[in-house]
Symmetry: C2
């Protein structure tokens, strides 16, 4: 059991409910909870070392963002994405992340490229170590480092909520991801496009990355048809 009341690390600056929310969000993106996992107020409270009110706050907030869903009148679970959900979310991701990356392109700079290169290094390292949760986390950092360059905070927030929805499902396929390493090539392309401040190319790189993830997810889900 973790105690959020201590540990200024990460969860600083806000209320317990806020801290609980952030902690749960990070765990979700890291793939700590699998699709279908049942979230209960008391369990979360116990796990994070807080009372039920902040735990409930976090769950409610996550639920209203779609990161958790109702499976019954009185049960919230980590969403199990169906074929249609996956397809829809991918379509939205392509549109939104495509927009963000294209708008980010003009802000390309040495510093940004270097930062991305370092993040990419951490992804590879985590992949080598077989630590998928860590790789997933750094992968998120890579994408959002670019998206945030555009200076469109509302857009970033919306994209983040999309990642929260697909995150847990992504974890399931990471063994394949580690094998194929499609992401590496796409990220490489992204860095090159950014160096040239080529919006169309940057958008294409990210759209490819998203589509590749979608294809793997489809395969992992058992459906053959693309």
């Amino acid at each position: 059991m973790l105690d959020l009341k201590m540990a200024g690390a990460g969860g600083q600056g806000a209320s317990l409910g806020e801290a609980a929310y952030r902690e749960m969000k990070e765990r979700l993106i890291r793939g700590k909870y699998r699709p279908g996992y049942k979230m209960t107020v008391r369990a979360v409270a116990e796990e994070l070392g807080v009372s039920s009110t902040p735990a409930r706050d976090a769950i409610n907030r996550l639920t209203s963002e779609g990161a958790l869903v109702y499976a019954g009148p009185k049960t919230v679970i980590v969403p199990v994405l169906g074929e249609l959900d996956l397809k829809e979310l991918t379509t939205i991701r392509i549109v939104l992340e495509g927009l963000a990356s294209e708008k980010a392109a003009p802000f390309g700079s040495e510093q940004h490229i270097e930062a991305l290169g370092q993040i990419q290094g951490r992804i590879s390292g985590a992949l080598d170590a077989g630590n998928y949760g860590e790789a997933l986390w750094h992968n998120k950092e890579f994408h959002f480092h670019v998206y945030e360059m555009a200076g469109l905070p509302h857009l970033v927030t919306m994209i983040e909520s999309l990642w929260l929805r697909v995150g847990p499902s992504l974890y399931n396929l990471y063994p394949e991801f580690a094998q194929e390493r499609n992401g590496v090539r796409n990220h490489q392309m992204a860095m090159e496009a950014l160096a040239e401040r080529d919006g169309a190319a940057l958008r294409a790189a990210f759209e490819n990355d998203i589509r590749d993830g979608y294809r793997l997810l489809r395969l992992a889900a058992g459906s053959a048809r693309m």
Copy 2:
């Protein structure tokens, strides 16, 4: 003071927190609260006739969706959109609502056209009566009736959260809207495009509608340049 504990109307089927959330959401879209209005837990609780817990739930949820924002460490207000916010949100709206309308086009039918015609009638009626809040509400119904046809629930949810953010600001310009009635022409075009199941035309109609609203908002905000 309204008492949500009674009145199954609209708020049926769920907890008090859920009902409070829906009520506040509707009030926000109807433009009952102006940008900058300060929301306090106790005031909302009093206004809706519930205790502080469900009121707090509603405020938290609205805040996490961006429909309310923090103006200080301990104050949440109805967002006051700046020029940049408005521009960004409009860009996102065009992309997302454009996608939704285009995907909805193939589902055009007699029934849908008729339903839209009726809603349009209610908009005109409310406009004639000078009831902006009502007109705003029916305008939302018009748009979402189309968006929901596409069968993409995640997308609809995301668009709804965008409306929640711009709603209060929209109210401010409705007197101009009532005068010009740009919306009428765009809605007319949308119905025609839907009758022909023309995705591109439907998308164009909605994009125009969004852009027209944005132009008016810019004018109302005092900025001259488009």
